[in-house]
């Protein structure tokens, strides 16, 4: 048993940490998210050059690591509130391909991800499906050996920046059946794909994505037809663990900012950090953070175990970290007082990111229900 990182993993952390610190300071981030592009493609190119986009892939696929590397990278992303689509591209699409892709698909698409040329978005959520991964109205009807894709995917993070989508669609069965689901790669420039792009409240970009009679060849199918749900659950769990790591990074900086502010801000002739009622709140924030670090490690370590173990631990982590994120975010704003309400201070953006993290890949309630289903009785 140990919680140490390998030399290679420490190098990944140092590399990302330096990149974020030097090139993603607060003012830069603000101008990036306000720009037309809304992200920094040149940073993405640097990540590719440094090999970071290969980090979670096996050597066979041209990489050198796994889930722990993704965890480390996302924790550092979180500290700087980097908006670049590492989770949609590398963790979600990369995960779908590495667990379900054919040799040809892996070579083409994982190669494209690692080189930085292909940017993926993961189109899985739908307007009426909430957090249920099997509740799908998007259909892919077989047409000979091809498919015809129709449907509407909701809040597809990073879609405006993407070149490709990984799409979940129903190939048979009723709307909420667990069987009859398949996973496809779709090029964004395919005929019949249209997007409505928008900004998100936490500084990212997303789209509503519409597919209208999009023709897909059988090469577009990832994994087994009609049996895509286990693959989707696995990659969503991996993405959940990675976004938990991001939240841990966000919370670390949120706590540091709050502690700093409590030292500087004076009221009643004393720094507000000298007041016990705020000290105890900050002690609680620290304990919430430490428990979140523990849960993030646990979820990451268990990702490669059997399905039930993986699901239980990922849901435990998302519940615990979701609750910590709410407590830390709200406490940070409260401790900053009126200044916490202004758009001027960074803490507001950290709070907003934590608030949106809560529902990503399933809310606390959703994961609590999944935990109960796996453990009760």
């Amino acid at each position: 048993m140990d919680f140490d990182f390998t030399d290679e993993q420490n190098m990944v952390r140092d590399g990302i940490s330096r990149l974020i610190r030097e090139q993603y300071d607060w003012d830069t981030r603000r101008s990036v998210i306000e720009s037309d592009a809304g992200w920094r493609p040149e940073l993405w190119a640097q990540l590719a050059e440094l090999g970071m986009l290969a980090a979670p892939f096996s050597e066979e696929d041209g990489g050198f690591g796994g889930a722990t590397e993704a965890m480390i990278i996302m924790e550092e992303f979180g500290k700087g509130l980097a908006v670049e689509p590492f989770i949609p591209t590398v963790v979600c699409a990369g995960g779908a391909l590495k667990h379900g892709g054919s040799a040809a698909q892996r070579e083409e698409y994982i190669g494209g991800i690692i080189s930085g040329e292909m940017i993926f978005a993961f189109a899985f959520a739908e307007p009426r499906g909430r957090y249920d991964l099997a509740n799908l109205e998007t259909t892919a009807k077989a047409d000979g050996s091809d498919y015809v894709l129709n449907g509407h995917k909701a809040v597809v993070i990073g879609a405006p920046w993407s070149t490709h989508f990984v799409v979940t669609a129903r190939t048979s069965g009723g709307r909420t059946d667990k069987e009859g689901i398949s996973v496809f790669v779709v090029a964004k420039d395919a005929d019949g794909v249209s997007l409505r792009d928008y900004g998100t409240v936490d500084g990212r970009r997303a789209s509503e994505v519409y597919f209208e009679n999009v023709k897909l060849s059988s090469d577009a199918l990832i994994g087994e037809a009609d049996n895509g749900l286990p693959l989707i659950e696995k990659i969503v769990d991996e993405a959940t663990a990675a976004t938990c790591a991001e939240a841990v990074g966000v919370m670390k900086v949120t706590n540091e900012m709050t502690l700093d502010y409590s030292r500087q801000r004076k009221q009643f002739g004393a720094p507000i950090g000298s007041f016990q009622v705020l000290q105890h709140r900050m002690a609680d924030m620290l304990m919430e953070y430490e428990q979140s670090v523990s849960m993030c490690y646990l979820a990451t370590i268990k990702l490669d175990e059997d399905d039930a173990t993986r699901k239980k631990n990922v849901s435990s982590a998302k519940v615990r970290i979701g609750q910590s994120a709410r407590f830390i975010g709200q406490s940070a704003i409260q401790t900053h007082g009126g200044m916490g309400m202004t758009d001027e201070l960074a803490v507001g953006s950290y709070f907003k990111r934590l608030s949106i993290f809560e529902s990503e890949f399933g809310s606390v309630d959703h994961h609590m229900r999944r935990h109960i289903a796996l453990t009760a009785g």
Binding site: M1, D2, F3, D4, F5, T68, L259, S262, R263, G273, S274, Q276, Q279, H280, M282, A283, D284, L286, M287, E290, Q291, S292, V293, S294, M295, Y297, L298, T300, I301, N313, S316, V319, R320, M368, R369, H371, I372, T375, A376, G377
Partner: protein, 398 residues
Amino acid sequence: MNLEFTPEENAFRDEVRDFIANNYPQNIGTRGVQDEMSPEDMAAWHKILGQKGWSVPAWPTEYGGTGWTPTQRYIWSEENARMNTVMPLPFGVSMVGPVIYTFGSDEQKAEYLPGIRSGNVWWCQGYSEPGAGSDLASLKTTAVRDGDDYILNGQKTWTTLAQHADWGFFLCRTDPDAPKPQMGISFILVDMKSPGIEVRPIKLIDGGHEVNEVWLTDVRVPAANLIGEENKGWTYAKFLLAHERSGIAGVARSKRGVEQLKEIAAAEMLDGKPLIEDMGFATKISQLEIDLSALEITELRTLAGEQAGKGPGPESSLLKVKGTEIQQRLTELTLEAVGYYGTPDFRSFPDDGSNDFPIGPDYAHHAAPTYFNMRKTSIYGGSNEIQRNIITKMILGL
């Protein structure tokens, strides 16, 4: 990063599991409702471990420690929790013992450590006073030097199981004029049979007799019983409290508690279905289980740090706060789960020698008293508010 135990550690687990299975005495009383247990039962496992050489695993080997790694000690406590053993009381093993081998004279080590190891000498802790709780340094019990003796006067309180104690370790004020209250305190070992000591029971809200008042009236104690230097007792007292907090998370015991709670919730019915299938109650159990797994990993992270040579630091405050919150929550949910049968007071059941009297299911009898009793955990060992003060000062640096 991994959570696997090594083959050697797994072999160690098998060894201690076998030892417990083969040597743990049968027919000893129930843990949790302590005054139902005889003092002999409470000390039985301690004495067996003393003979085996396993009663003080964390001590340095020169004083009888086992030399186990922190992970081995963790496995040891996990296996004991799994078997629900009544472990050696902490007052000798985890509190005064480390103070004696760290700060005591060679004579004191020779005199007191063997009895702590063997379990033949019962120790109690004379710290709190009616006017000195969280503000321990304001204590008023005095020790005045008189020739080769000290003369002790004052009152201690919350003295756990002092009714059975052979010896006690007491914090006394030896310099009332010291510039800071912390600077005038000494750490003195007292024979509980000394004339002038009176132990009076305190009945707690659970109906049990677990703690006492200890009154000291002109109690004569040899000056040779002073630990370390006069007026330096606060240093030793703080050292002891840090020792007390490690292991206080109680993860393994709480894991067992969650399993028991699930069994109860599976047996109790709501709307014709097991209570555990009710979404409201199931959510509470899952929350507890999730919080417990966070605590477990945090404890393992601390353990890994210790293994790498970092001593238990202020993180032990986190383990204390979260560990006791979970212990308390377990007892709350157990009382909720048993419904109406949490109400009857088992102490009022007539003792007519027959076995057929008990009212309601067995698991309900102690639900309320245990819930009442466990409120102590966020108060003792430095209240959870004091732990937050420690985190504020030592970790946040405010």
